[in-house]
Amino acid sequence: MAVIRDMIPPCELFQPASIGDALNLLDQYGDDSWVLAGGLDSFDWFKDRIKRPEAIVDLGGIEELTGIRADGDGLVIGPMTSLTEVATHPDIVGRFGLLAQAAAEVATPQIRNQGTLGGNLAQDTRCWYYRGGWPCYRAGGNICYASAPKAMNAEHCVFGASRCVAVNPSDTAPATIALDAQMVVTNSSGETVYDAEDFFIGPGIDIERMTVMEPGDLLTSIRIPGTWAGADFYFEKIRDRQSWDFSLVTVASAIRASGGTIQDARISVNGVAPYPMRLDEAERAVIGQAASDDTGIAAGDIAIRRAQPLRHNAYKLPLMKNLVRRAVRAEV
C-alpha cells in the first residue's frame, strides 16, 4: 500500500454533549475510537494516515470539561480549557503561576487558542521515527530506530529508556507534577484519581502509551491542590527557536523558602525521559539548604546522576543540570 501523507482520510466524527455520551461512544468503539481534544496532536496523525481510528470522539462540545473553578483552596481545571485561558486566568496566574507560565510557552498563540490543557498533558511523543510511521516498539513493532548506533537522536531521552527512547514533549506536564496536581480519569466503570507523577508512564510499563489512560478512559478534570499556591515558581523551556518548537529540556519547580532556607520543594523536568520526571532526590537534597547557586549546582549534579545519553544528546546533561540549578537558585 503506497503512502499518502498530509491528507485526512474520511472518518466518522462524533460530537457528544456529555461525558456520559462520550464514554458510551468510547466503549462502543473500543480500540477503534480516538479522543479528540484540540486536535493539534491528533490531526498530525490523521493527516499522515498513520493512525486511522474508526470513530473520532470530539470533546469540544462537552461543556462540563471546560472551565476553571475554585475547589477549597485549590482549583479544578476542565481538561478542555484552552491553553490560552490557562495561561491568562487570574486564579492560575495569581496563585499557580507555574502552570500559567508553562501553558504560555506552548507552541504559538494560535495553537494555544486551539490547544487544550488536557490535550497538552496527554499528547503523544514527537520522536520523528515514530511520527514518521516507522514500525517501532511504540507503534507496535519490535525495534527502536532512534537508539541505533547512527540514529538521529539529539532530541531523545537520557533517562527512563526502556527499548523506546522517546521523550514526553508536554510543557504543562512538569508544571502539574511540581504543583502536585491530580488527574481524574473517568471510564464507564467510574473515576480514578492519579497523582500527576503517576499519570504519566514510561515505555517499561506500556510502550504504546504515554499516560495511564487506556481506550475507554477520559481525562475529566485536573485538580490543583492549594498546597503550593503562591510558592516560588520557576519554569524554563529551552528550544531551538522561540515559537512552535518542542522543548529540548524543560524545568518546572515550586519551592517554599523562609529566611533564605528552602523549606519544601518540588522539581520536575521534561524532555529528558519518556515521561515527565519528578526529581525526588534533588528535592531532598535542597530541602533545608540555603537557596543558593551552590545548592542549585549540587541539586543539578544529583539530578543528572544516572543519566544515560545517546549518541547525539549528551548536551541534555549540562542543560538539565543548569536548569535545575537555576530553578533552585531562582530563589536567591
Binding site: 503506497a2 501523507r5 527557536r241 515559537s243 512552535w244
Partner: protein
C-alpha cells in the same frame, strides 16, 4: 511635473489583493469538470520500479486515469542528469513515481494508497564523503558527479583514494583530486607572506527552501493550447521553459502566474511537476489540479546544497588577506547542477580580495532531494562559513573586526573569480561605514564578551556580496488613447514588488504620474516581453534598464509625433504629466492620449507595426499582438556596460548567549546595502530584513536531517525543519542604503534579493562566536546543543564533518 516614482514608497499594485485575499494563486483556480491528481512518492532513497499494480486503484469509483514515467505522452527529458516529473528510478526518498487523477482529491489519495509498487532497493548515499571513498556507493547507477569539460557533460564515477582519507583523519576534510581548480597568484607565496595563518574544517548544511506556497499547478487544454496555472518566480522564462519541456511551441502555452507565494530560487523557471498536471489533463481531456501539500513540497521543493569544506587563510598584521585556500565538497543532491560551489569561490575572492587564492571543489550527487539555487546560492553559505574566521583572525591580530573587513573590502576597482573580472560599481566600504554608524559599532563592540546575568553578549558582522543584475532584456510598453501608460512585464511577481518597481523607470523617463501607469503582468496571454529569469537578483537591474530603454523609445516617438503635428524639431519637445510639449513653450503640446491616437493612425513603428530587429521572438509576438492599440515603446536594453554587477549587504548583529543553556537571543540587527540607486525604500527594507531572517534561520535553527541507515528525511515539517519564527527575529531591526547609483546603468539600481541572506547568517554566526569568546564553531546551524557543548566544554553532538544532522 509629476513627482519621480523612483525613490518613493508607493504601494505596489497587487498589495490590496494580497492583503484582502482576493489574489488568486494557482490553487485557487477551478475549471469545469476539473479532476484532482495525487502523487505516489518513492519510499526509498534509491530504487527502481519493478512492477506497478494499479488495478485496484483504477477500479475505484471516481478514479479517471493514471500517469507513470512510461506513459507515451510524457515528454522526453534530455540532458545529463536531467529530472523528469515522474521516474522509474527514484533518486531520493519522496521522488514522484506516478500520479492518479480522480474526480476529487480524497478519491485520488485513496487510489494512490491502493496501488502496489514493487521497488527494488539500489545502493544509496547521503553523505558526499561516503560517495568519494574508494568503493563507496554512488547516488546514480552511472556515477556520482557531473563531469564538465568545455561543452561536454557526463555523469561519471569519481573516487578519492584511501590515502586521501587516511591523510585527513576522521575530522578533517580529505582533499583528493578536485573536479574544479583555479588559482590566482600562488597561495604558497601568499601564506609565506602571512603573519597569521588560520585553518578550519567547516560544515554548512543543506537547507530546504520552504516557500509558503507549495508548487501547486492546474492545467487544462483548449484545442491544442495548454493553459497552466502555476506557482513560479518568472513569467517569460517559465513560459519558455514549459513549452520547451513539453515540446510545444510557445504560442501553444498560456501561463497564468500572477502571484507567487515565495520561491527563493526553487521556482525560477517553473517546476518539473507542472508536467504532471499538463500531461494528465491532456490525457484525460479534463482540467487537472495537482495540489502539492507541505509534505510533498519538502521533497520536491528543492534545497540549498550543503558544503563540507576546508578553508585556510593567511593574514598580514593589519588584517589584510594574503591568501585563501578553499576546498569545497558540495552535496549536489539527486538532481540539478547547482553551481553554488563555484559561486562560493567567486564570493570569497570578491569579499576579501586576497593577494592569492586557490579554489578547489567537487560536487557530489547524493540520494537526497534535488538542489537548486536558494537566495544567494553559494554566497550565503560561504560568507556564513568564512566571516567567523575573519573574526578569529582579527582577534588574534588585535585588529578591530570592522577594520579587518574594511581593509579587505574591494573598491570600484575590485576583482572577482578565476578570471579576475571587474565590477560595474562597488561601494562596499561605504556600506560598512554606514552600517557601523547605524548599528553603533564603536559602542557595541565594547559589549563584546560582557555579561548580562547568565548571558554573554556578542556582536558580529557579515559581509555579503551577491550578483545584482544582468543586461540585454526587452522592454515593452504602450501609451493607449486613454492617456495611460501600460508597462508590460515579462518578469514574474515573486513577491519582491519588482513588477511595479522596475516599471517606475519608464514612468520617470516619460514624466508620467505613477497613478496613470498600469503594470501588466503574470499572464502570458496579456502580451508580455522577453525578460530575465527572476533569479540572481537580476530583475531590478535588468528591467529598470529594459523599461528605461522602452520608455526612451516611446519618448522619441512622442517627440516625433508632436514635432510633426506642431512643428519644430523633436528635440525641442519634452514629456511630463501625460503631455508632450515644447520645452520653451510648455503650453504648446499635446496629451499622450492624443499622441496615442495619432500613433495608431500613423502606424508603422509608432504603434508597433514595425519593430526593432534585435528583439526576442517572444517580445516580437507580444508587440505584434499589441500593434495598433496605442503608441508603443519597445526596445532591447543595449546600454551595455563593463564588469559584473554585484550588490552588497553588510549585516551587523548583536546576540546574547545564555552560558548555562546555550540559548541564543538575537537582540539587534542592522543591514546596510550597496544596491545602487534605491527604487522603493520600503520594499528595499523588506528585502534586507526578510532575507536576513532567512539567514538567521540558516545560521541558527534550520535543520535538514536524514537517517543514515535508511536515507530517509526527518526535517520535513515546519516544526522539525525549524525555519525561524517571528519570535526569533529581533524587535529592533534597522536598515540603510548607500544609495549611490551604479554609473554603468541608466537608473543606477542593482538587485537586492540575495545578499541579505548571507549577511544575516554571517553576522549571527560571527556574533555567536564572539559571545563564545572568539570560538569558531565552524558549522551551521548553531543549534542550542552545539552552542551548549562549546560553552560547557563537553563533546560536540556531531563530528565536524557529520552532515545531514
Amino acid at each position: 511635473m509629476a513627482e519621480k516614482a523612483i525613490g518613493r514608497d508607493i504601494a505596489p499594485p497587487d498589495l490590496r489583493a494580497k492583503i484582502t485575499g482576493r489574489a488568486r494563486y494557482a490553487e485557487d483556480f477551478r475549471a469545469e469538470g476539473m479532476l484532482f491528481a495525487k502523487l505516489l512518492l518513492s519510499p526509498m532513497p534509491h530504487c527502481s520500479v519493478r512492477r506497478i499494480d494499479a488495478s485496484a486503484a483504477l477500479a475505484m469509483e471516481g478514479v479517471v486515469d493514471i500517469l507513470t514515467a512510461d506513459d507515451p505522452m510524457m515528454p522526453e527529458i534530455t540532458g545529463v542528469g536531467a529530472e523528469a516529473a515522474l521516474t522509474n528510478e527514484p533518486l531520493y526518498e519522496g521522488e514522484p513515481v506516478l500520479a492518479v487523477a480522480a474526480v476529487d482529491e480524497t478519491t485520488a489519495a485513496n487510489a494512490i494508497e491502493a496501488i502496489r509498487v514493487d521497488f527494488e532497493p539500489l545502493p544509496f548515499v547521503v553523505d558526499p564523503l561516503d560517495s568519494l571513498r574508494p568503493g563507496g556507493p554512488n547516488a546514480r547507477l552511472d556515477g556520482n558527479i557531473q563531469w564538465r569539460e568545455g561543452q561536454t557533460r557526463e555523469i561519471r564515477e569519481f573516487k578519492w583514494t584511501d590515502a586521501d582519507f587516511d591523510a585527513a583523519g576522521p575530522d578533517r576534510l580529505p582533499m583528493g583530486e578536485p573536479q574544479v581548480e583555479w588559482n590566482v597568484g600562488d597561495v604558497g607565496d601568499g601564506f609565506a607572506d602571512a603573519d597569521l595563518v588560520l585553518e578550519e574544517t567547516i560544515l554548512h548544511q543543506s537547507l530546504s527552501h520552504h516557500p509558503m506556497e507549495p508548487r501547486t499547478c492546474m492545467a487544462y487544454w483548449q484545442n491544442d493550447k495548454l493553459y497552466l496555472h502555476a506557482s513560479t518566480q518568472s513569467t517569460a522564462r517559465t513560459h519558455a521553459a514549459l513549452a520547451n519541456r513539453l515540446g510545444l511551441d510557445q504560442s501553444q502555452v498560456v501561463l497564468v502566474a500572477e502571484y507567487c507565494g515565495g520561491g527563493f530560487g526553487s521556482k525560477i523557471s517553473g517546476a518539473p511537476i507542472n508536467d504532471v498536471a499538463a500531461i494528465l489533463s491532456r490525457k484525460t481531456g479534463r482540467p487537472v489540479m495537482l495540489r502539492i501539500n507541505r509534505y510533498e513540497e519538502t521533497y520536491i521543493g528543492r534545497a540549498r546544497p550543503g558544503f563540507q569544506s576546508f578553508a585556510k587563510m593567511g593574514f598580514r598584521n593589519d588584517g589584510r588577506v594574503t591568501a585563501i585556500d578553499l576546498y569545497i565538497v558540495q552535496d549536489a543532491g539527486s538532481y540539478g547542477s547547482s553551481g553554488d560551489f563555484n559561486t562560493a569561490g567567486t564570493v570569497a575572492s570578491l569579499s576579501y580580495q586576497p593577494e592569492s587564492m586557490r579554489f578547489r571543489a567537487v560536487s557530489v550527487y547524493t540520494n537526497t532531494p534535488p538542489r537548486s539555487a536558494q537566495r544567494a546560492p553559494g554566497g550565503a553559505q560561504i560568507v556564513a562559513m568564512l566571516e567567523p574566521i575573519m573574526d578569529k583572525a582579527a582577534r588574534e591580530l588585535g585588529v578591530d573586526r570592522l577594520a579587518i573587513r574594511r581593509v579587505n573590502a574591494p573598491g570600484p576597482d575590485g576583482w572577482l573569480g578565476a578570471n579576475q573580472g571587474s565590477l560595474s560599481s562597488c561601494f562596499a566600504r561605504e556600506a560598512l561605514d554606514i552600517g557601523a554608524e547605524v548599528f553603533g559599532w564603536e559602542e557595541k563592540t565594547q559589549l563584546s564578551g560582557t555579561r548580562r546575568g547568565t548571558k554573554s553578549i556578542g556582536v558580529g558582522i557579515g559581509v555579503s556580496p551577491f550578483v545584482g543584475g544582468s543586461r540585454g532584456m526587452d522592454g515593452l510598453l504602450v501609451i493607449r488613447p486613454d492617456g495611460k501608460l501600460y508597462i508590460h512585464q515579462g518578469i514574474g511577481n515573486l513577491g519582491t514588488h519588482s513588477i511595479a518597481d522596475t516599471a517606475r523607470a519608464a514612468a520617470d523617463v516619460l514624466g508620467m504620474d505613477w497613478n496613470d501607469c498600469e503594470v501588466v503582468w503574470g499572464d502570458t496571454s496579456r502580451n508580455l516581453p522577453w525578460s530575465s529569469s527572476q533569479s540572481g537578483s537580476q530583475t531590478t537591474h535588468a528591467h529598470t534598464r529594459a523599461n528605461h530603454a522602452a520608455a526612451l523609445d516611446a519618448k522619441a516617438k512622442l517627440q516625433e509625433i508632436a514635432a510633426g503635428a506642431l512643428g519644430g524639431s523633436p528635440d525641442a519637445y519634452d514629456c511630463a504629466d501625460g503631455r508632450v510639449f515644447q520645452s520653451s513653450n510648455p503650453g504648446r503640446g499635446m496629451s499622450f492620449a492624443d499622441a496615442a491616437r495619432r500613433a495608431i493612425e500613423m502606424g508603422g513603428r509608432y504603434s508597433g507595426q514595425e519593430l526593432p530587429d534585435d528583439l526576442n521572438p517572444m517580445t516580437v509576438a507580444s508587440a505584434t499582438n499589441l500593434a495598433g492599440e496605442g503608441l508603443m515603446g519597445v526596445a532591447r536594453d543595449n546600454y551595455g556596460g563593463d564588469g559584473s554587477i554585484w550588490s552588497w549587504v553588510m549585516g551587523f548583529a548583536q546576540v546574547e548567549v545564555d552560558v548555562e543553556t546555550g540559548q541564543v537571543d538575537l537582540t539587534e540587527y542592522t543591514g546596510v546595502t550597496d544596491c545602487g540607486t534605491v527604487l522603493h525604500p520600503r520594499s528595499l527594507g523588506a528585502q534586507i530584513h526578510g532575507g536576513s531572517v532567512q539567514g538567521f534561520g540558516q545560521a541558527r535553527s534550520q535543520k535538514w536531517v536524514f537517517d543514515p541507515q535508511w536515507g530517509v528525511a526527518f526535517a520535513k515539517r515546519f516544526y522539525t525543519a525549524r525555519p525561524p519564527g517571528i519570535l526569533d527575529v529581533p524587535l529592533e531591526m534597522k536598515w540603510a542604503a548607500v544609495d549611490l547609483p551604479d554609473p554603468q546603468t541608466p537608473v543606477g539600481a542593482k538587485g537586492i534579493g540575495e545578499p541579505p541572506v548571507g549577511a544575516g547568517a554571517a553576522a549571527v554566526a560571527s556574533a555567536v562566536a564572539d559571545a563564545l569568546g572568539g570560538q569558531c564553531l565552524c558549522r551551521t546551524p548553531l543549534t542550542t546543543d552545539v552552542v551548549l557543548a562549546a560553552l560547557t566544554g563537553t563533546e560536540q553532538p556531531y563530528r565536524p564533518l557529520e552532515t545531514h544532522v
